[in-house]
């Protein structure tokens, strides 16, 4: 038998507000019930309280985020430090940002006009000539065949970094700088005398023998490191005058005001446009080694960053997902009470955000400590090539924001899942 009330002609009426109409003791504390959305304070309160319910889960979540940041910060800083060191050695204290060479032949015969024009380009910091001639260096029975490089002794920028002794002085026709590794091979120290033979040209003016070879006894003024460990440097003015063309150069090295390869390429393009007889290449285009290194660093950054993100996203997503599953009944209760889906989403999302923010801050402190350790104990330190972490605001902030965004992303799926719980299905089950 069916229970049938007399509702056949039921016509709905607008609902009244019994809260306002009630006269019981609750009326004494009843305010306006007109609020539509949940107060943010309530949602934050629920998120915070729920987060504190399971201490182990909270600790694991915070650890996952903190470890992600704590690894990512020194990893990124060390890779940036490696790139900086490479740039320092190969560019700033190497062959500069743009290398200008003659399109045909071995050298420019007169670089005066070209130097003056390039120096006037707005993004150029310095432009210097080098003259490289084949030669031999001898000391105490040791003999090494190499290129002898003439550099402008008065210039601010050099293709080397002096590590011991003194620099060459302009017009110094008795001094030489040796690469540290070469000096070690020869057993030479600052103040020692070495013999150098240079193949000057087929048309020498100051030849010391009939074969156009210059023989010199030079004093070691200093030692140089970085990319010039096996090189020999003499004064460009002296060497050029020995060839008979005292304004000649094998190349012009251009130092830009920025390490940005786009700036270097712009300079190179301008030079090639204005001097058709010259080729100009940016540091990245001139060196396959540098190109490989920069590419490798970028790849390592991406791989390490991706691993860190997966290291964060998987545990955070798993733990929050399990938490959302575990709380289905509580979510259903909230739904039955009258919380909206987006409010339930917000509660769970805020939990993820709180975990993210606290975890990121903890990770940043740990990362800062690890950076300090690597700064004192570099991950690589061999023959003046030292990789120290590049401690910059960006290298700290970027991993923090990335992991925070990842945590928020990882938290949004469980939050969405929680918001979509069917309260009727869940509440039907006795737990």
């Amino acid at each position: 038998m069916k229970f049938v009330p007399n509702t056949a002609n039921y016509s709905p009426k607008p609902p009244s507000d019994p809260v306002a109409a009630s006269t019981d003791e609750l009326s004494a504390v009843s305010g306006s019930p007109k609020r539509r959305g949940a107060p943010i304070g309530l949602l934050l309160f629920l998120a915070w309280k729920a987060l504190g319910e399971n201490g182990l889960s909270l600790v694991l979540l915070l650890l996952a985020v903190a470890i992600g940041v704590g690894f990512q910060i020194p990893n990124r800083a060390n890779l940036a430090g490696f790139r900086n060191e490479i740039m320092q050695q190969e560019v700033s204290s190497g062959l500069g940002h743009v290398r200008v060479r003659p399109r045909q032949g071995e050298r420019f015969s007169d670089i005066t006009a070209m130097m003056a024009r390039i120096a006037k380009l707005p993004s150029v910091k310095a432009v210097e000539p080098i003259l490289v001639l084949p030669g031999v260096i001898k000391k105490s029975g040791h003999l090494v065949v190499l290129g002898v490089t003439g550099v402008n002794a008065s210039a601010r920028e050099h293709p080397y970094e002096r590590t011991v002794g003194a620099d060459l002085t302009p017009g110094d026709d008795h001094g030489v700088l040796l690469g540290e590794r070469l000096a070690k091979k020869l057993g030479a120290q600052v103040g020692d005398e070495v013999n150098i033979q240079v193949l000057l040209s087929s048309r020498p003016r100051l030849v010391l023998d009939d074969e156009g070879v210059g023989n010199y006894k030079l004093v070691v003024r200093g030692l140089v490191g970085f990319a010039a460990l096996d090189s020999v440097f003499v004064d460009w003015g002296f060497l050029a005058s020995e060839t008979g063309d005292d304004r000649s150069a094998s190349a012009l090295l251009v130092w830009a005001k920025s390490d940005d390869v786009k700036v270097a390429r712009q300079i190179a393009s301008t030079v090639e446009h204005e001097f058709p007889d010259a080729t100009a290449l940016s540091w990245l285009d001139d060196s396959r080694y540098l190109r490989s290194i920069v590419g490798a660093v970028q790849a390592l950054e991406s791989i390490a960053g991706g691993m860190s993100l997966f290291g964060v996203i998987i545990p955070v997503l798993s733990l929050l997902y399990i938490d959302a599953l575990h709380r289905r009944r509580q979510v259903s209760l909230l739904s039955a009470i009258g919380f909206r889906e987006r409010e339930i989403f917000f509660i769970f999302f805020v939990k993820a955000l709180i975990v993210g923010i606290v975890g990121v801050l903890l990770g940043a402190v740990a990362g800062w400590g690890i950076l300090g350790y690597f700064n004192l104990h570099p991950i690589y330190n061999y023959e003046k090539f030292v990789i120290r972490p590049a401690i910059t605001f960006g290298n700290m902030l970027f991993p923090m924001l990335l992991v925070l965004a990842t945590t928020a992303l990882a938290g949004s799926l469980p939050a969405w899942q929680a918001a979509r719980v069917n309260p009727s299905d869940t509440l039907r089950r006795i737990e």
Partner: protein, 247 residues
Amino acid sequence: MSSGPVLVANGLVRLRGDKAIIAGASLTLEPGDSVAIMGPSGCGKTTLLHLLGILDRPSAGTVFVEGVDPWSTGRDARAALRLRRIGFVFQQSNLMPFLSARDNVSLPAWRLRGDRREALARADILLERFGLGARSRAPGGELSLGEAQRVATARALVNRPALILADEPTGSLDSSATEAVLNSFDEIVREGTTLVVATHDARVASRMHQIVHMHDGAIGAAPEPPTEPLMGGTNAAGSALVRRPTP
């Protein structure tokens, strides 16, 4: 309080797959009515409560809560209707275990009114009324089952709803806790709130004004003849309804 019926359900059907969990239930509830829905496990009592409380959508039929068809509105409107007009008491796991008793009770009021202090004041009044003033700061997870049910009842009442839906509210309680919960229900009904209780317990049913028996999703006849003829009222059409003397 509305002058019309609190709830009108007509021809409710709820299908799960091919099976009808609820097969054509109709019901009209006036302010101050108390109804016990009885029947064996799986007969559809809980499903019916969820349909009446707009937690679940009927496959066919209509529900009006104080004249509003909730399924013609959006999710937010249904949530608002539950918040303002309907209170739920479930059998167990009724509370947020990480919140104190007073926080649990105040939750709907804080959500509705946006004022935590006012919500807590309302919660304190209700907890005192249910004899739980001394336990108001105990976490929900540490309350006894009887205490938790009374806290859940207080929470259901805190926004002064028109309708309370209780699903086996005494199912896991001992006799003294059951009595405490039933006393609180008596008070609710005396104040004009409509109460629907799904129960196996004849003692609980005996405290309600009306008893409805369910079988295989249908509201059916009482297993025993009525002890008192149904007198007047809007629910006079069915012989399944047993009207009890008001306690």
